[in-house]
Each structure stands twice: as structure tokens, then as C-alpha cells.
Symmetry: C2
Subunit: 409 residues, 2 copies
């Protein structure tokens, strides 16, 4: 089958999708269940319907667009990613896998071969943790790895309140997919790291995904007037938090392994007035490693640092583990399909580990899975200047299509 990607159309659709944003261009902000997210969902569903895919949505907003195969009773082959974006992000993270996946399906259709297995595009709900503080919300639920009843946003609003507002109803437990539902899952994504660009390799075939964890910390000290309370009498929650932030950095650097990363990306200071000593601080901490015991040792060290700071400064630190996931090993058969597809089209590839995590981390628990990476400029993402070239994206979509042809028979 001759597969051809419509690079121009794919670029146009990516640009169009970027316009559904709560931040001025080139930044993209599209938080799950926001007006922008709902508009973007409508846009993508419209594109899917336009080529005859059968679209369904589940109770939490995961969206499925199926091209029914010649043997509909067989387990489908799936591809997909997400369209939500963290505040002030770029336009390629996730969207390349959704619109690239759709273009791959269209390329197979145009090629004239209808596969035996159905091919399904999945748009995962809320891969980004912005709203509910946990990443891969949708795919965790599909894989049965999340208790959604406890989810709250920063203002205390529940998932049920948010999904009702966005028009999603029904039983959340019923979202879970049965075992064997998909014969294979492949996610196309920008690398979000510098390796492919640095080495001039157009494709990365992901064989493993690093183990992510995130913590919420509440530091409680004693407030007071910034002029009147003398320094020796203070229990400043923000000074304690500053020490913890630097501990996270030091502990992550201290493993001696390049693959350990630790970040404090969220900080809320209460009451937040220039003339008031901070009484309370909330931090959100992200720790990842490809080695699970090493990652968990970092978490333990951060907990000990919190205890030490709390005791020395006379504050309290409460720690909540938001997620502490195992790494994923990709499926050899799906990896092989991707490497063969790359070679079919004369495109160089390399095996690699993903340090960022993706919906594939959870899809790999219920389906044979792998990922296909394309280079992004400077390795940067989660920033407005995130960039992947139209040719790089088209190459990814082409190889994805070729691999799906093989996997779907």
C-alpha cells in the first residue's frame, strides 16, 4: 500500500487547534473542561466525523474515533494522545499524536487498504495534571489505575462537578476498558528532550517510560506582621519551603545518575501579602527516574529533608503522595512494527527511553504498547516556543500509519 501524508493539511490543523487557547499566541493554555478545551474537542471530533470515523465519548471525556475494520469483532489497533495543554505551553505536545494519528488513518484510507482490525484514534482526557493535580487522568481511568472519587481541583471542586459542566455524564467506574480491548497501542509524540535533534535522527522508538511520582506538600508555620514580629520569634512557612525546594534539587542531583530529575513547579504562599509573614505554603513536587528503586530513594530523602526542616524551624510539613508509578516496558512486537515501518520508508531511528511520561505509561498496562518520538527544537516543550517541523511531524505520521497497517493486518 502506498501511504502519503498530507503535510500541509496536518500543519494547518495543528495551527487551527492551537487557536483554542486561554493565552495569547504563541502560548497555548487549554486546561481540561475549560471553554477552550471544550471548543477544541468539538473541532477534533468534527475532523474525525468528516472522514467517517465513529465517534464516542466516555463518562470522563476520553474520546474514541473508530474506523471499523473488515473483521469488526477483532480487537482494534489504537493510536492517540491528548489535546489539553498546561498554562502557557506550546502547540505540539499531545496534539501531534492526535492530529498525526488522524492523518495516519486518513493516509491508510487514501492508500485504499481497509485493514482487518478496526483502527481507533483515542483523545485522552486530561493528560496534563493542571486541573486535578494528577497526570494521565483519562488513561489511568481506562487502565483502572485511579480512584476518581477523591479528585479535587485547587478550589475543592470535584470531578463530578467539572465533568457535568463539560457535558460528560454516566458511571466513572465504567470507563475502564476490558482486558484485550486493544490488540496494540502506539502513541506518536514530540520527544520533549534534545537527543533526536542533537543526533540528527528523525525517529525515536520508545522502549521504556521513566517512573514518575509527584507529591503535594503543605508547610504550616506562623503568620504575623512583617514589621512587628522579630526574626528570632518567626516560624516563616515560606523560608521553610525555600529550604525544601533546594533540598529537592540537591537530592535529585545527588543520585549521581543523569536520569534522576526533581522539580518544584507549583508554589502557593498564604496569605500572600508583602507585609505579612507567610503562615502556609503549598508546594507540588515532581520526581522521575528510569530506575524505580532509585526514584523511590529520592522520594524518601525528600521526606526526611521535610522532617528535618520542620523540626529545626518549628513548622509542620504534611506530605501527600499524588502518584508514584512504576516505569513502563514497551511491547517488543509493537516496537518491531515501528522499526520495520521506519526502515520501509528509509528513515533512521534509534531506541530510546522517555523521561517524560505519557498516556502510554498506563495504556501499556492493558495493551501491547509503544511510542514513536519525533524531534522538537532544542528539546524544549511546555513552553510557547515548543516547535516541531511539518516534515518531522509528517515523517512520524507516515511511520505510524505504516506500523498500524502491519498491526491491523
Amino acid at each position: 500500500m502506498k501511504l502519503e501524508i498530507d503535510t500541509h493539511r496536518l500543519s494547518f490543523e495543528l495551527e487551527s487547534l492551537a487557536e483554542f487557547s486561554d493565552a495569547p499566541a504563541p502560548a497555548v493554555t487549554r486546561v481540561v473542561f475549560s471553554e477552550q478545551d471544550r471548543d477544541a474537542r468539538r473541532y477534533v471530533k468534527g475532523l474525525c466525523a468528516a472522514v467517517g470515523l465513529e465517534v464516542r465519548e466516555d463518562a470522563v471525556g476520553n474520546t474514541f474515533a473508530r474506523w471499523v475494520g473488515t473483521e469488526p469483532s477483532l480487537a482494534a489497533v489504537a493510536t492517540g494522545s491528548h489535546i489539553d495543554a498546561i498554562p502557557h505551553a506550546g502547540r505540539y505536545d499531545g496534539t501531534v499524536g492526535v492530529l498525526g494519528g488522524l492523518e495516519a488513518i486518513r493516509a491508510i484510507e487514501r492508500g485504499g487498504g481497509r485493514p482487518r482490525r478496526s483502527i481507533e484514534l483515542v483523545i485522552f482526557s486530561a493528560e496534563e495534571p493542571t486541573r486535578f493535580g494528577i497526570g494521565c487522568f483519562g488513561s489511568r481511568l481506562l487502565a483502572g489505575c485511579l480512584d476518581a472519587a477523591t479528585l479535587r481541583d485547587k478550589e475543592g471542586r470535584t470531578l463530578d462537578e467539572w465533568r457535568a459542566e463539560a457535558g460528560f455524564h454516566g458511571d466513572v467506574a465504567g470507563v475502564r476498558l476490558p482486558a484485550g480491548y486493544y490488540a496494540a497501542f502506539v502513541e506518536l509524540h514530540i520527544e520533549q528532550g534534545p537527543l533526536l535533534e542533537r543526533e540528527g535522527v528523525p525517529l525515536g522508538v520508545v522502549t521504556a517510560i521513566a517512573a514518575p511520582a509527584s507529591l503535594r506538600l503543605w508547610i504550616e508555620g506562623e503568620g504575623g506582621h512583617a514589621g512587628a514580629v522579630l526574626m528570632p520569634d518567626r516560624h516563616d512557612a515560606f523560608c521553610a519551603a525555600a529550604e525544601i525546594v533546594l533540598s529537592v534539587e540537591a537530592v535529585a542531583r545527588g543520585t549521581g545518575a543523569i536520569d534522576t530529575v526533581g522539580t518544584v513547579g507549583v508554589c502557593d504562599v498564604f496569605p500572600g501579602a508583602v507585609n505579612s509573614i507567610p503562615s502556609r505554603v503549598r508546594l507540588e513536587v515532581d520526581v522521575r527516574d528510569i530506575d524505580l528503586p532509585r526514584r523511590d530513594a529520592v522520594l524518601a530523602k525528600i521526606e526526611r529533608a521535610c522532617e528535618e526542616v520542620a523540626a529545626r524551624r518549628g513548622v509542620t510539613v504534611r506530605t501527600e503522595v499524588v502518584n508514584q508509578d512504576a516505569p513502563a516496558q514497551c511491547d517488543a512486537r509493537v516496537v518491531d512494527a515501528l522499526t520495520r515501518a521506519s526502515e520501509t520508508h528509509g528513515l533512521a531511528w534509534r531506541r530510546m527511553v522517555s523521561r517524560a511520561y505519557h498516556d502510554t505509561l498506563f495504556m501499556s498496562r492493558i495493551a501491547p504498547s509503544a511510542m514513536l518520538f519525533i524531534p522538537c527544537k532544542g528539546g524544549v516543550s511546555h513552553r510557547p516556543d515548543e516547535y516541531a517541523s511539518p516534515d518531522a511531524i509528517a515523517a512520524g505520521a507516515l511511520v505510524l500509519a505504516e506500523a498500524m497497517v502491519e498491526l491491523a493486518g
Copy 2:
């Protein structure tokens, strides 16, 4: 003249005023020009009008309620404070000086003596820096110490936008009071420190006000994905900010003087997502000392610490001095009037320095001024558990009334 304070009514009015709040009780949040501030203004103006005071407001919301004396052409004697409250504050900071000042005027009226000089209650607009980042907004303008044209809130809204919304119009430059407008100014206030309570002294006569300064810092690093950017490649703006926060604390502690205080009360992290490396952080820093050269040496050390952190971490730190004020020396004649008034009523008093700053810091530049402090529980303020007893407040109002009788002749 026999002066008597209606303790019950004064307490009731303080409780009533506390209900104009954007935070659940016992906390009080009342930011200038908010709906709550506007409602509270209406309430206090109503109380003033009810006893026949002539009420006027200036172009920025400073409010003046005058009891005209027997010789209206003489410069008036003034008292007053503020009714705005920082987020999640208490109910006594500022309000004791406004409602206690009003009750002092009523006590003189009830006592039957109409003074030669007019007595004027001033409710200063925005003593707290919450909205525009600068404290004593209203009294700075009265004293001609502020260029209001550059003021912006966090969202970039101007003073003109805000005051129009709150119903204040006219020429901001015209707010400035002419020299000699007031013959004297006295501000009644809770101590916001522990000395009076600790020593069991009911009244503090303030002879000087510590010199305040505040800075805004913008730390600009490099964002990126929290999973993908390796630790050695990072320029994390929040880690740099954490070091600066700890520097402010260390420098303030390092002067060896108990009167030096340094606080970082505001921190905004951008983009503020758990899986995104902070690219930008904004801090607000507050530094005070009763000794001006020592205070300025602390500011210089903080600037040097910022430069060192910026160079070492490959980030930029931009510093803006929001205010850097001189200390105030109170007027001997007004101080003497307060000590005599205390003795007239058999109340112990002590001289003291105010480390918190107040509208008196600026009123002292255009009028002979002093302050009268009453104890507050545990020395705490800017917190919901801020507390001054009805009897302590009544004692303050009584001595204030007695002193004004002398000053207004």
C-alpha cells in the same frame, strides 16, 4: 471636661465593620476599592454623618469627617487610620484608630466642650499595599510623596481604572494637602508587637516609626518539561528564588540588631504547573529597621545576593525598589499631649518605637504627629486571631480624646 467612652457601642461598631469582609469570619479581607471596602466606607461615613460631622472624600478615596470648631479658620486637629485589611487579616488593625477616633470625637461632644480648632477624622485610603503593592497609598498622596501615575495592580490595571470603578474622580495631584493644613495629627493603633502586653502597660506613646522599604524581584530562568530537561541543563527560576528568600532571612538576621526584619511575603511562580520547570518567579520583599543606614545596608546586601545567585545559576534577577522611606520622628508637643492625657486618667504609658509603619509616617511630614498604641494579644496582627480587648480600646480612645481636647484648645 468629663470624657466618657461608650465601650459597648465602640465594640459593637468594630464587630459590625468586621462583617464587610471577603473572607469567612473570624478572618477579614477588605482590599481597597473592592465591594467590601466600598460597603465598609458607606458604613463608616454613615456613622460620621449620624453625629453631624461634615464628610468629604478626595479623588483617591481618602475620607475626612470634620467637627467644625468655634474658630473654623484655625488649622484643624486630626486623628484617623485605615479600614482596609490585607487578605485573611484580623479586625483591629486600622479600624481601632478610625472607630476609636470617631468615639473620641463623640466623647468630646458628649462632654459638652466645643473646641476652638476643628477636629477631623481621616480614613486613609489603602494603608495596606495589597492592591497597588505600596503601603500608605492615601497618606503618601496627602503628603505629596507618591507619583500615582505609575501605579498598577497585579493585572496591570491602573489607579484611574480602579478609582473610577469605586466612584472616585477628579485630579489626583489635587489630593495633596497644603502645608499647615493640620495643627496636629494623632493615630490610635494596636501595637502589632508584644511589648505592651508583656509589660502590662496599657498605652504606648510612639516617638519614632521604623524605616520601611520594599522590593519587587523578577527572576527569569528557563522553563521546560520537568521530566525531560536534565538537572545539569536547568536554569530553574524557582530554585534561584528559594536561595534569594533564604538570603533575605540570613541578611536580616545577620545585622546583629533585633530591630532589623526582612520578609518575603509574596511569590508567584510561572507557569505554575507540577510538570513544568519554573521559568519566572516574582517575589515581594519587605525590609525594616529603626536605623536608616543599617536598613539600607540590608537592601544592598540583598541586591548583591541576587547578583550572585543570578551569575551562578545563569538566570537574570531584576530588582525594583517599590518604596525606601526614611523613619519618622514624632512631634514632642503631640507626644507630651498624649503622655499628659494618659496621666490625667491614671493610665500607665511607655515611650516606644513602631516597627510596623503607618499613615503617621507620612502625616508626620506635613503635620506635627504622634501615635498612641494599645496592646494586642500575643503581639500578633495581620492574622484572623488578632485581638485587642474592649477595655484596652476604650482606654486608647479616652486618652486620644483627652489629648485632642488639649491640642484643639
